[in-house]
Symmetry: C2
Subunit: 344 residues, 2 copies
Amino acid sequence: MKIAIVFGGSSYEHEISIVSSIAMKEVLKNELIYIFCDQNREFFEIPKKIIKSKLFSSGEYKKCDKLTLAKGGFFKKSMLGQKAIEFDVVLNLTHGGDGEDGVLASLFEFFSIPFIGPRVEACSVSSHKFLTKGYAASVDVKTIPYVFYTKGDAMSVTNFPVIVKPVRLGSSIGVSIVKSQEELEYACDVAYEFDNAIIIEPFISGVKEYNLAGTKINDEFVFSIIEEPQKVEFLDFDKKYLDFSRTSGAVEAPLEAFLQEKIKDSFKKLYNTLFEGSLIRCDFFVVDNEVYINEINSIPGSMANYLFSDFNALLNSLAQNLPTRKTITINYEYVNKIHSCKGK
Amino acid sequence: MKIAIVFGGSSYEHEISIVSSIAMKEVLKNELIYIFCDQNREFFEIPKKIIKSKLFSSGEYKKCDKLTLAKGGFFKKSMLGQKAIEFDVVLNLTHGGDGEDGVLASLFEFFSIPFIGPRVEACSVSSHKFLTKGYAASVDVKTIPYVFYTKGDAMSVTNFPVIVKPVRLGSSIGVSIVKSQEELEYACDVAYEFDNAIIIEPFISGVKEYNLAGTKINDEFVFSIIEEPQKVEFLDFDKKYLDFSRTSGAVEAPLEAFLQEKIKDSFKKLYNTLFEGSLIRCDFFVVDNEVYINEINSIPGSMANYLFSDFNALLNSLAQNLPTRKTITINYEYVNKIHSCKGK
């Protein structure tokens, strides 16, 4: 099975998408091709053998073949017009904007390109923190309490420390821990730099965090090990960034069985039917033996490959069991009925 | 201002989109062009002077110019390569799939085409009834109680009558009123024909329904009149269908001031920042002086033009005040940092 990794995008997480994608060279034994979406949203085919991060920062990628997106796939100019790029399935590895907000999912859907990755609705609920909260509540999964503000709203925050986050971004961009009223305004200004809405949550120092990745294949869940991620007080972008190149080194958290079950149960409720077609990583908090969802990563860093014992086999199995779209037949029955009503 | 109406789509509501779009000829004084997305998702430019519903049911539309979608707009083949179709803004009038589920919104976003219509996240929360419920709860707007099932779930429904709905479709497709346990299985089978998930709500016979349309321009809400829609026990597809061609005839509902305010207040909470760029119609139920959201129509039939006193002016004002996307600058700071860390 030949996989086309689509990465980059017009996104604050453009660079970590590059790092994640390069990591796939090590963990996937498939024939791979790389399709880069640059910051201007132009596509380029990057040969696997030359891919390295410097190719992008230097702009050299522009010497590679430029691709266009059209019905059925990606195409490059050839002597006889257009030539389709050959692959069996796309792996969407575009973190953040374009990849995780539903834009590329829509393009693949519209142009009938099979892909591994979250579908549009799954993107909306996972990329927008406010929608994640509402969705989690409606599938009966707990979340940390929060307040939601849009620019210009009067704010009322009385208990510190809190954590201030732009409502849409991942990878800690624009996020601050705020210890006092004096720091609050600046932190909100920073967050509003990236989005027109923010959420504020209590910051729970030393909270236990656990990550679980998984997917659904033929209606059966497949789970990774549960990891307690290495933690400084707060994972900043630099630290997270290096995490995206991970290909090994995960250790199973020594969790009691009932907590493991609670975490897996919450994962199942969140994954639901909405995330079918994707492999996701859920980051949970555990407080007083209760499980709270912190974040749904619909395209996790390096696909969370390091959490699975045989990631390569799993991804191939997922690729062969993607959700299919119902065929819609349009027969113009109603339009014809109107004509006969109107007598014309 | 020249408006390109994009309509059709691979959707169960393809035909009502045609009817809605033709209605625009009467209500918009702008220069209009029509871009039809056929059931195979190919685009055609339909001259305004020849547009009528028969053109589509007969397949004659295929004689019109075929368009491709690419950066900056729609293009047709010309003697000198590609020629861009000229317009100032798209009006997305594709009801249901493609239009209201975020697919076309993503395409317009990706290819930098300004458009009137719901953005991706707004599509997700309004087109998926389960997500609408969760979203409404999180913005503090009441919804009718419900249960949510996916195919194969054990069901427990004891109080009849109920209303069974596929989770994703609009215009009453696949929806049934169920009066007894015996009818339930069949109704669910019908709903599952259209989707892999359903919701079941109590059916409240004779419930008061009120529709309010509106938009936000320069941070100010603009509302239509509140209408009590003409009602048979249950609006079936045929009846709703003819509604999509409405261009006049709305009468303001004689509602007490406090209820009008409650309805407008709920509309504002739902519209939030999420629906910016779109003109929507919210359909509310009123039970015992409490307001419940029933449905958010992110692309209402014939744009709910009949509810506004000067729809033409309003739409043009919205077109001139569309949300803009933040520019994202990618400077490869992190990629460069990695190189210097690794010393290569």
